[in-house]
Each structure stands twice: as C-alpha cells, then as structure tokens.
Amino acid sequence: MTFLSRLLGKPNGLIGMVLLTAVLATAFLGAVWTPYDPLKSDLLNRFAQPSAAHPFGTDMFGRDVLSRLMRGAWVSVSIGLATLVIPVMLGTLLGAAAGFFRGWFDRLLIMVLDALMAFPGLLIALGLMAVIGANRFGVIIALSVAYLPAVTRLVRGSVLSISQNEFVEASASMGNSRLYTLVVHILPNCVGALIVLTTMMFGWVLLAESALSFLGLGVPPPEPSWGNILSEAKAHLMRHPMLGLLPGICISISLLGVNLLGDALRDELDPKSAAAPSKETI
C-alpha cells in the first residue's frame, strides 16, 4: 500500500512504528508467556544482580523483573487499548451528531464538555477512581471519561468544517438523507484527524495509567503494571535505581514510539502536506 510505504519512508514514521510494534509484541507475549511467574516471590534471592537466569535481576520480593515488566506491558497496553474504545466510539457519535445537527443538542453537549475540559484529565480520573474503586475496570472507565471531550470536540470540529464543502450540499441536492450524507460523505473525511488523535491518546492513556498506579489508585498489587512496578520501586530507589529505571524506560519508549508515529501520521494525512496533491500544482 502506498500510504504505508510513504509513512514508513519518513524517519519518524519508521522509528515510531518499530518502537510501537516492539512494545505491542512484548505486551502480547507477556500475556501468554513469561520466563517466570511474575507473582512468585523468592525471598532468598532478593535484589539479585542481572544474570543469565534473571536478565534484569529480581526485585525486593525476589520476583523476576523481566517477567514482571512483560506482564506489566500487557496490563498497561490492554488498559490503554480498552480505554481508547469508549472515547473514540462514543466521542465520534456525539461529535458527529453535534456537528451535523447543531441546535440545542450541540449547545448543551459543548457546555458539558467544556466544563469537563476545564479539569485536567488526570484529576477527573482521580476523582472517579475514588468513587469507583481501584481496579482495572475503574481505571478504564475513569480514563475513558477523562478523554471523551477531546475526541468529541475534534470530531465535531471536523464535521463542521467538512460540512462547508459543496459535496455535502451536492449530496443533499441528490435527495440523500442527512444521515446518509453524514455517514458516507462527512465521517470518512474525519478519519484522518481521528487516527492521529487516537495514536496520541494511546500514549496519554499509558502515561495516565502509570500515574494512577504510581499513586496507588490503579491496578492493585501484586498484579504488575508499569505504573505500580515503578511505585513499588520508589522505596528502594537510592540503593537499587535499576528497579525504577527499567519501568520508566519502558514507558518512555512507548511514548516516544507513539508520538513519532502520531507526528508522521499527521503529516501524511494532512491535505496540506507536500505528499498530498494540492489545489495549486505550481
């Protein structure tokens, strides 16, 4: 596909794709197989140095760090992906309806979303977690609510600007219903922007999940996630910095991959970019 080859032809697209693929592969592997049981402690072998048996050493309970990072990758990534579903689907639906049908529904929705957006996403999630309780589904729901406004506003804005095009009127003048016009003519033209936002959001969600876990509001221990591995390491950070550094590096690599890929996608999907043919050809 030419789109994919153009995307991978850019340095940021290529690097981002490689990093993200590595993270996803690790996560899926961690779901089914890890060298040791990530929950099994071995108190005789605490804080072991890296060795052939334990490539990244063991933690304060003698658990294998590599296994914990792999399983943690799965927990973090699965929460990240699950969290994308609700905001993207519900946000698209709400944004499209608001942008296309306007009127009181639009005004009311925007008022509510603006109020939500006035709070930082993490703060909303923290509040919700306190109500729902600290578990995996709590994290997913809290983060979904926190990121819903961003998607809704983006889709609404795209729908509004695309509706200005004459092909939307052309559709109406052919006797097509408004719903058909929205689904066939307007939404496909929003997909580019939505893909970019979704890519970026995956990064934010990973970070937010880690932050929640770090604060003790995320996935409850002993289940590992990158956030709570980091959180548990903080007591031993002075003498065993590797314990904190390793999950930090994992989070950084994921974010870097997602951001690079997001940038490349944005350039590639932007009609004003050089690769896309423009209205004025010289």
Partner: protein, 592 residues
C-alpha cells in the same frame, strides 16, 4: 520577442529559466518593459506566468530557483544582487505586488491605516502626519468615499472589491516604478473587476508606473495592456502589441485562447412551449442573524425579495447578477438547501410543500445541481466511478452492474475516459472534475439542472469546452437548465431567456437577443459593459465596444436596488421583456 536590452528599458528579462527541483516551469523567457508601459502576461494556470512575476520580485517559493538567465530592473541585477538588502529595498519601494486574494494579502488583525503606513515608515522619512495625509489622498484616488473613516477599520469589514482597492492604494502609495498584479481581479465578479482594473490603470498612469498584469483571461487584460505576452507550459509563445496580437495571432495557442475569449456565436437552447417545467412565484429568502443567541435582537437580511420566474421544459434560462444579488440563493431555495421565507415553487405541475413527503422526494430527485467549485463539490475520499454512481442511488430498479455500466457510459458522454472511474478527484484537473460533477447530475436523467456558476472557477479555454459540452448533452438528454452566473456573456451562449438580479430583486427579464439588443435597466447595462469580450473587426479581432449608455429615457424612473425602500414594480417593456421601475413611475413603453 526581442531580447536586446535597450537603455531605456525599465525591466529586462533575458533567457530566464525557473525550475522546481528537476522540473522546469519556465523555459528561456525574454521580456522587456519600458517605463509606464502595461504588459499583459497571459496563460492558463500552470503556465509559469506567476513564477515570472515572483522571480522579478526575487520572491520565488523555497523549492524554486532561477536556473539560467538574468533579470535586470532599473540598474539592479535581481538574479545576482549585491546583497539581500538590495532586493529588500527594491520591494515595495520600486516594485509593488498585488495578489489575487485580497482577503489573505491584507493582515486581518491590523487596521487598514496601520497596514498602509507600514511600508511608508519603512521606506520614507515622512512624518506621521504626512504619511496619514498621503494615505488619505491615495484612498481618494482609488475612489473610496470618506477615507478618514476607513483608516481605523479592519479588512473583514470590506467587500472583496474594496479590499483590492485598498490593496492598490497601499501598494501605489510609494509610487513604485513597476507594479506586478498577479490575477488581481480573478476572485471578483465582472462588475467589480472592471471597476478595480479601471482604478488600477488610472492610478498607475498618474504616477507613471509600469504594470505587469498577469491573468488567464485575455479579453479582460486586452483592454488595459499596451503589449501582450502569451505563455504556454513555461514557454513564451507569442508577444507583441495588443492590437497586433488580437488581429493577427501567430501561434496556435494564442488563437485557441482568443477563440475561447470570443466564445463563438450564441446558440440559445429554447424550450418547448406549453406548461412551464418550473414556476417560482414570489420567492423570498431571509437570513436572520441572531445577536448573542437572540438576546440582543436579530438582524434580518433579505437575500431574495419576491422573485418569480419560469423555466420551460428543455429550456436554458440564465439568472444573472453580481455577487450578493441572491442568484445562488434562488437556486439553493429551489433545491431546498435553503429554507424559503415566502413563495411557491411548482415543478412539473406539482407544488413543493403541498405533496406527501415521499412524493415530494421523488419529485425533487428530478432536479439536480452542478456547483461552482469542482475542487470542493467532489468528495475527496470517493473514486470517480462511485461519485457518478451515487447519482443513481435512489433508482432501486437497477443492479450494481447496471449502475456501473451507466456510470461508465455517462463518463464517456461527458468526454472522460472510462478508466478514470477508478481514480480519486485529486488526480483530475479542474475541467475534468467539473465534467464529473456534470456526469453525476445527469446520470439520473433529471428534467432540470440548476447550474450555479458552473464555469466561473475554470480557465477561459476550459470554460468554452464545458459550455459546448452542456450544449451537446442538452441535445442528447433534453434537460432544462437554470444557469446561474455573474457573466452575461457566458449565459448569452446557451440561454434563451435571462433574468437579471440585483440585491435580491428582479431588475429585468427578457429573451436573450432582446436583452443584448436593447437593455433597459441601467444595472443590466452596467453588467453588459463589465465583462469585455473580443469581436471580429474589419482587420481581424479587436476588443468589443461597450454598448453606449443610452440615456434617452430617464434612468431615475427605474427601480434602484440600492434604495431598498422605494416602491417596486415590474412593467412590460416589450414581448416577454419586463423591467423594474419605481412603482409610481410611468415609463414610455414604446417598444410594446
């Protein structure tokens, strides 16, 4: 053209090549310009004409460069300046530039006055008061009333024509020796275009400025130019005095441009007599603007006021007026894209709004629209075949294969290759896209096409092709057409009858030949004079003369749409010829 530099030449372009990477956009162009001379640089989009203008300013886009040749201006080597500073001082001070789009070339967040003063402060030592006086004087020269009140206003408060005049005023304030005007009026409609170009010519003449007028429309620039240079695909194919080029064009491309500008003999498409296909009675459309959600009242803008018209089956009817006259709104109201405030639309004997919903939908499907801008009227994410097929969506009796065949046949009928069905719109040129739009409208075999400025966004040569295409398709499919345009000469080509609109009011209605032979309303005459065309003279082509304003009947008796509150009445001025007058006025309807 003669490449020898004469000492008197203000500008010399010698053997100029401009390339973008490995792509050459201008090849070996030679031009000279004397002080005070007006040169028209004519060519289609993509011919490289704008790039020449930009290279003279030393302002080529980043990817472009002058790969060969030299440009000399008034003792300065533009292509090999002694310092970047030298070019910067020339720009604005000695060479002025006017762009096509005055909306984007004026800074929207700066007051008009500030923008005008900016260049003067930079290039002269005058005091603030002197600069201000100078700016006011300049605004007066471009015929803007009460200039003192304008300096503190922002660009968005002005119409396109006024903005372009302001642009001219601010560029000409420094009395540059050369003015480069790059399609200065292409975004404007005919009446305003004429005004702006007239003003530009006067101002340039007053300060002895030479002008390079870049345009795709030969007929428009011919009126103003001393010499014409014709560009095709980066090559200068012909150059010479305006009269000579018009009368005896040497190069086939010039001839093609000239043919396009004449548009040929009008061949009106008359309809079948009997019951009209479309009758619009007393149509009014208001646009209401609520101030802060209606809390502070609302302003009502009457876009269309009490307009009635008819279209016979198979007839081409023109709806003409400048931008803001409400002509597009009428088309959109007929198609239910804009709600009507009052009035009745009867199509094929049945009135919209008085039928059951399903029946009305079926009826409306027999009306199709063609839009102005082919770059925005096709969905960029759909393939050409899909786009055309969509026109058949409501015909449930067809199978997918039949739709596909119909779409391919339709593409061929509009002069496109059936292989194009798999392409996306961005791979097509403007003219091709407009053909696709026409195919989409015609595939359902509608009885009426509403064409809203279908050729205004296209190059002149392409315009003629699209008009010929519409004519051929009409003969084949027999549809009627409501043709909306600001250019009387375009609608003259195909339309049997014309309606002239001004500020939402019908000014005149007549059969096309009658309207051209004896236009009654002053506004119609202004429209007629606005779009220059070429005609055959005794020695080949020449510019058509304006119809002399006939002042024998008193103009003040006609209804003037700028005076909204005057009583309005349409009276018969001949057979099928009606004209708007002030209600109490009686007019010598001598022709009747």
């Amino acid at each position: 053209m003669n490449g020898q530099a004469k000492p008197a030449d203000l500008l010399t372009v010698e053997d100029l090549d401009i390339s973008f990477g490995s792509v050459s956009v201008v090849n070996g162009v030679n031009l000279t310009l004397k002080p005070g001379e007006v040169l028209a640089l004519v060519g289609e989009s993509g011919s490289g004409k704008s790039m020449i203008g930009r290279s003279i300013m030393g302002l080529l886009p980043k990817a472009g460069r002058v790969s060969r040749g030299r440009i000399r201006f008034d003792g300065h080597e533009i292509t090999a300046p002694e310092s970047a500073e030298e070019l910067r001082l020339l720009r604005g001070r000695s060479i002025g530039l006017i762009f096509q789009e005055p909306l984007s070339s004026l800074n929207p967040s700066m007051r008009i006055g500030e923008q005008m003063f900016e260049a003067m402060r930079l290039h002269t030592d005058l005091t603030e008061a002197q600069i201000r006086d100078h700016a006011l004087d300049m605004l007066r020269q471009v015929r803007l009333d009460r200039p003192e009140t304008l300096l503190n206003r922002y660009p968005h408060e002005f119409s396109g024509g006024m903005r372009q005049r302001i642009m001219i005023a601010s560029v000409m304030m420094l009395k540059p020796r050369l003015l480069i005007a790059d399609e200065p009026t292409t975004a404007l409609d005919a009446v305003v275009q004429r005004e702006v170009l007239d003003i530009m010519q006067d101002v340039a003449r007053a300060s002895g400025t030479a002008v390079i007028l870049i345009s795709h429309d030969l007929a428009v620039v011919a009126r103003y130019a001393d010499r014409i240079a014709v560009m095709e695909k980066g090559n200068l194919v012909e150059g010479g005095d305006t009269g000579a080029v018009l009368a005896r064009p040497q190069h086939p491309y010039t001839r093609r441009l000239l043919d396009a500008a004449q548009l040929g003999t009008p061949t009106p498409v008359a309809g079948r007599a009997g019951v009209p296909l479309l009758t619009v009675e007393g149509l009014s459309v208001d646009f209401t603007e609520k101030k802060l959600m209606g809390l502070f009242g609302r302003t009502v803008h009457h876009a269309v006021r009490d307009v009635s018209l008819t279209v016979a089956p198979g007839e081409f009817v023109g709806l003409v007026g400048e931008s803001g006259s409400g002509k597009s709104t009428i088309g959109r109201a007929i198609c239910d894209l804009t709600p009507m405030t009052a009035g009745r639309v009867v199509f094929d004997g049945q009135a919209f709004g008085e039928l059951p919903a399903a029946g009305e939908r079926r009826l409306r499907r027999r009306i199709r629209m063609v839009f102005q801008d082919p770059f925005s009227s096709l969905n960029p994410r759909m393939r050409i075949g899909q786009i055309v097929r969509e026109g058949l969506r409501h015909d449930r009796s067809l199978t997918a294969a039949e739709r596909q065949t119909a779409a391919h046949d339709m593409l061929e009928a509009v002069g496109l290759d059936r292989n194009m069905a798999d392409r996306f719109p961005h791979a097509l040129s403007g003219g091709q896209r407009q053909r696709v739009a026409i195919a989409r409208a015609l595939i359902a075999q509608p009885d009426l096409i509403i064409a809203d400025e279908p050729v205004s966004a296209l190059d002149v040569t392409i315009q003629a092709q699209i008009l010929a295409l519409l004519k051929r398709l009409q003969a084949e499919f027999g549809f009627a057409c409501l043709f909306i345009s600001h250019d009387l000469h375009i609608v003259e080509q195909l339309c049997a009858r014309l309606y002239v609109l001004h500020k939402g009011r019908l000014m005149e209605e007549a059969a096309t030949p009658d309207l051209f032979a004896a236009p009654r309303h002053p506004y119609t005459r202004r429209l007629l004079g606005a779009s220059p065309r070429l005609e055959k003279g005794p020695e080949g082509l020449r510019l058509a003369e304006d119809p002399a304003p006939d002042l024998s009947d008193n103009a003040f008796e006609y209804y003037d749409a700028t005076r909204v509150d005057d009583p309005y009445r349409l009276i018969e001025a001949g057979k099928g010829h009606r004209v708007a007058v002030r209600a109490e006025a009686e007019i010598g309807a001598g022709a009747a």
